[in-house]
Symmetry: none
Subunit: 218 residues, 4 copies
DNA sequence: AATGAATGAGCCTTCATTCAT
DNA sequence: GATGAATGAAGGCTCATTCAT
């Protein structure tokens, strides 16, 4: 079932081939610059197939977004390796690392990162679904972790600001990648690099959170 | 003198009108989705004016980027209110606040924020110039501040990671604005709001930096 | 079979209609002055059809050239009516007459003449193919005839000069037609007229060739 | 007076500069492909100068044609080196050589050849003037020479056909130059080459004319 | 007499979409 | 289900020409 989505196999349907090809094309060039011809050529199907299976280009894009996000969340769940008895510190570190992996995964077929970055910069109607089904739950989960640090009396603005501080540090590497690549050409994103970056963000954030927690209690 | 660049008054030239109109259109729709016809209609000039004054759409876009960035940097310089005798803390706080103001300025005609966000997500050839003339100097300036905290023995990776942590927290509000608006609809970006956010990022970052500085010295 | 190429009948395909219409338009106005709109209007097809069937205007033009030249060479082959045992004189006369017919054929749909004349005066990249596949073989064939008159010891410059003299006399009526029409308005180009002109060129050339052959042997 | 036309001198007027520049541009690219911008750039004058001095592009072209033809006829008159007592053979040879020189002159600023070739392939209204004032007198002069060979009883069609045979041989090198350059890349058009070609055309034609003269008398 | 700015028409091309098989 | 052909709407750009000085 799930395998069919990723492994095309011999019985791969036209619809499935389109989805895979479109994901890559949209991720690389964005919605507007991608052409249906590019997609169907890569998928080795007919020009009319997109309109037949997805009604139009916009709908295909929308499906691609869901498809890509679903895959990545299965691959790197937010609570990666966390057990019921884990400390807040362990939960936070796991959250940060899994976020890094999701957002900067370089393995072939992982187009989730660039896709989401584009969607932020230039939102389409597909964003609404995304927020409701994925982003909001993710944010709530992070807030629940932060509340363990900041205490139950922490105000919503403080929680949100801290969540933003954590997530912002990570997304920076995604959203500003073109600039980073120019300023710091040697920076790579292998698994070990991401672990190092995640460690830094964890330490930086932990200190920040604790300082604010102390301030909030005072 | 400088005012003439922005407000050309009644003798506003076609070139200037184009620049102003194009800035807004590009900021709202991005380079690819914007059409020359939209721009010239808004500027109330002829289609051929773009070709005459800027050669082509790409060059116009490039000029718009320089124009917008130049304006905003004049309005909110990175060392805003800093004197020669200022402490590192004061410099850092000024840097963060000015960055927030630049990136999230809501005053009419301030299209710098969305423009840059799009350029990050979908870089054009104009990005190269931008990096060399604006972004790299800005990064160097931040690093010089951070070095005052981290000491002269701090490694380049540590400096870069800290700089990324600081800047990432700020840019988050820009690059993820569509999502933030949905998750936290009450958040506004008036001057006072930005000062509050800047204060948070400053405190959060200061704690993070100091923790890492201590670790580095150990 | 072959007829289908020219007369597609009621099931005439868009591609064929474009080819026919484009031939006439290009012949009458030249490549640069002809517009795709003129062509598709005449062919009663959509603007995008040119791009779909021929990629662009230049390729369409190139195909038109091949099409027109192929048709006319089938209609009037260079060795028209020549048998294996024909004398050099008969071969030369046949060559001249067929050349006249090809170049000045007035029957409807015979746009080969003006098309080639324009291509000479204002060559496009399509000329290269033409020379290699059509013109050079034609020239070689004429040279082989001339060699029968001039002997195997005739130098290449002499052969080329004589070939030029023969062909030049014919092409004059094509390339200078606008001027001839003004200087000699009664001159027409029906079959019988062309036969008379061909007879003149044949006699004129035969005398010229024989004189030079005598000179060469001496 | 005449010098002003050719020698720009220090007091060269805008009009004159335009004429010189336009001649070259039109000769190289044809009327349609030449742009006013190219011409004014080469002439180092303002864009509006063409419309100011010549009303429009077409009129400028017309003036260029007259200008170029006038120059070349002065340089190489049809009766070059012929004296009252010259024989018909001498007159014919002089006519052919001067025609060759006029049509294939390679010296800088001699754009008459390509200009006329284009005008033949794609006549404009400027051709009428040309025929009346230049081409017809030239044809009459050639006919008068031919009549000395063919006798006063020669019919007009015969005279015209012979004139065409002579002129056609020469113009071939002009009108088919692109093809000749490909088929015979070593052929050059220095003065000595033209004299050799003229000699060939003269001998070839002389034999042809004499043969037809004999036939006409019989 | 001459200029730089500005104009509007038009051209080639591309693209998403639909039609007919 | 699936395909190749065909469509109409723009889009970027170029060009000759005119306007205001």
């Amino acid at each position: 079932m799930v395998e069919n989505v990723i492994d095309a196999g011999t019985t791969e349907r036209t619809r499935q081939k389109l989805l895979v090809a479109a994901t890559e094309v949209f991720a690389k060039q964005g919605f507007k610059s991608s052409t249906i011809r590019q997609i169907v050529t890569k998928a080795r199907v007919n020009v009319a197939a997109v309109n037949y299976h997805f009604r139009d280009k916009a709908t295909l894009y929308s499906e691609v977004l869901k498809f890509a996000l679903g895959s990545i969340l299965k691959k790197y769940p937010p609570d990666m390796g966390v057990t019921p008895g884990s400390t807040p510190e362990q939960k936070l570190e796991a959250f940060i690392l899994s976020f890094f992996l999701r957002v900067l995964d370089q393995s072939s077929g992982a187009w989730h990162g660039p896709l989401m970055a584009r969607e932020m910069a230039d939102p389409t109607s597909a964003l609404d679904d995304l927020v409701d089904h994925v982003l909001r739950p993710l944010g709530d989960y992070l807030n629940s972790i932060l509340r363990e640090f900041l205490g139950s009396t922490a105000t919503a603005p403080l929680l949100n600001a801290c969540a933003a501080s954590v997530v912002g540090q990570i997304l920076f590497y995604r959203h500003c990648q073109p600039v980073i690549a120019k300023l710091n050409p040697t920076l790579t994103y292998r698994r070990e690099d991401l672990e190092r970056l995640a460690r830094h963000v964890y330490e930086f954030s932990l200190a920040g959170i604790r300082a604010l927690a102390a301030g909030a209690r005072r």
